[in-house]
């Protein structure tokens, strides 16, 4: 299948003269490939050198009022936490969100590319693209790079003419329509909380609290997830960020320390005795 090189468009139309100096920069778009006998092995090594953000927890679900999307914000490179403030919920356009799991650069780049394609669709067709269409665009791009080592596990959530939409798309080329998804190393923990608390007829407050709790529990048990739990809501007027809470603080919010049993209290009593 022909590789999708639209992400590499480098404005040849702006350069009017066939100047050799500019020619290098505006050459037809293509990815540089190494001249190696073992492309597969070379890529595997390059990926080890390069790939962060495999550990993560993201989730999204559809309910009566729309779509709720939540994620943590930790990026890890092996055992080192490279960032606690990664934006894992990517704003593709004012009514569509994408979540990031897997390779950070892959997710950032292709989500941005998807946003551009969605905008071009709007201009060409005078109407917004559907969530079905947007997720298909992304899935087709990722399928064309299948086997080349991209790592993307994303959920496309949005509101279009048919109502709320949620799709799971990954770099193996998979695309699934669904009502509840969680992706990442912390997803088993998030599913546990999400599935047991889910009701279709929740209010927005109940749904956002459920999403926040699910992320919190995943960060509690999964070492590769942590940082800030962000919760977004997608409704008929587009997406809105509902909350961003540090999971360390959420821990004490959900498990308050009762004053009568503090260690300090016990130490004072012991010293007095």
């Amino acid at each position: 299948m022909k590789l999708d090189t639209s992400g590499l468009e480098s404005f040849p139309s702006l350069i009017l003269h066939g100047n050799d100096v500019a020619g290098e920069i505006s050459a037809p778009p293509s990815f540089d490939l190494p001249n190696s006998n073992d492309f597969d092995g070379f890529l595997k090594e390059a990926i080890q050198m390069v790939k962060p953000a495999k550990g993560t927890t993201t989730l999204a679900f559809i309910f009566k009022e729309g779509v709720m999307v939540a994620a943590d914000s930790r990026a890890s490179m092996g055992g080192y936490i490279s960032s606690q403030s990664v934006k894992k919920i990517i704003e593709i356009n004012p009514y569509m969100l994408g979540t990031m799991a897997g390779g950070a650069a892959d997710c950032q780049f292709w989500h941005r590319n998807l946003g551009i394609k969605c905008r071009l669709h709007e201009l060409a067709n005078k109407r917004r693209i559907s969530v079905t269409g947007a997720s298909k665009l992304l899935a087709n791009i990722l399928y064309s790079y299948r086997g080349m080592g991209l790592s993307v596990g994303t959920m496309i959530a949005g509101w279009d003419e048919t109502g709320p939409g949620l799709y799971y798309v990954d770099s193996e080329g998979g695309r699934l329509k669904g009502t509840r998804f969680s992706v990442g190393s912390g997803s088993p923990y998030a599913y546990g909380v999400l599935d047991s608390g889910y009701k279709y007829d929740m209010s927005i407050e109940e749904a956002s609290e459920l999403a926040r709790r699910a992320i919190y529990h995943a960060t509690f048990r999964d070492g590769a997830s942590g940082g800030v739990a962000s919760v977004y809501y997608v409704g008929p007027t587009g997406w809105k960020k509902l909350s961003g809470d540090d999971v360390g603080e959420l821990h004490y919010h959900y498990n308050p320390v009762t004053p009568s049993t503090t260690v300090e209290q016990e130490m004072v009593d012991a010293a007095a005795a």
Binding site: G7, L8, L14, A22, I25, F31, D32, L33, P34, S36, N37, D38, G41, F42, L43, A46, M49, V50, K51, P52, A53, S73, M77, Y80, S82, S83, Q84, S85, V86, K87, G103, A104, A105, D106, C107, Q108, F109, M148, G149, L150, G227, V228, S230, K241, L242, S243, G244, D245, D246
Partner: protein, 223 residues
């Protein structure tokens, strides 16, 4: 018949550390000047810092040949931008350009760990931190390179700013003054030099503020 293996690698790691700190109206970018390969020191006097645009400076550690190529590509693209738009690129624009440039080589990456520092269009300090294939985020401070695992926890301790993801949103820049930030950078490099063999010799510190660009050097341990 067994698969043929490559008997050389196109990559090497020349070591070194970079740091950048953003302030309310300044930005400090620093990198050591040691270039190594394996246990050998190639030179004690190599600049890892590149002045990409008027208000935008990049420090990169990793494989310096890839860094040099990357710097050349970026300055060529910046020159084209200046011819087409009749103005300098802003720091956030250069940040996006760097991200895309890195990602274009997704299947044969630049082995370059970058930190971009400068002033945004409001004159506030901004720092962008990257991985080798282009994922980036705007932060208040960052370090990359062989000493980053030693430097980052110290910067977290001294500069920890509220996460930009918190709601309501809070400012990421540090409340430190320019001289305090420069002192912090000097301290940080002195400490990293103690425990990282690839960091040392000298630290080159670049300060960007409203009055322009200022560069200073400080000697570090040469062992």
């Amino acid at each position: 018949m067994t698969k043929q293996q490559a008997n050389w690698s196109p990559y090497d790691n020349n070591g070194g550390s970079c740091v950048a700190i953003a302030g309310s109206d300044y930005c400090v970018i620093a990198a050591d000047t040691r270039m190594s390969t394996g246990y050998n020191i190639l030179t004690r006097d190599y600049s890892k810092i590149s002045h990409l645009a008027e208000k935008c400076v990049m420090a990169s550690s990793g494989f310096q040949a890839d860094v040099k190529a990357l710097q050349k590509v970026l300055s060529a693209r910046h020159l084209t931008y200046q011819h087409q738009h009749n103005k300098q690129m802003s720091c956030p624009a250069m940040a996006q350009l760097l991200s895309n440039t890195l990602y274009y080589k997704r299947f044969f990456p630049y082995y370059s760990f970058n930190v971009l520092g400068g002033l945004d269009s409001e004159g506030k300090g901004c720092v962008f931190t990257y991985d080798a294939v282009g994922s980036y985020e705007r932060v208040g401070y960052s370090s990359q390179g062989s000493g980053s695992t030693l430097i980052m926890p110290f910067l977290d301790n001294q500069l920890k700013s509220p996460s930009p993801l918190l709601l309501p949103a809070q400012d990421a820049v540090t409340p430190l003054s320019e001289t305090e930030a420069v002192d912090l950078v000097k301290t940080v490099f002195a400490s990293a030099t103690e425990r990282d063999i690839y960091t040392g010799d000298k630290v080159e510190i670049v300060i960007l503020n409203a009055s322009g660009i200022h560069r200073e050097f400080m000697d570090l341990r040469k062992d």
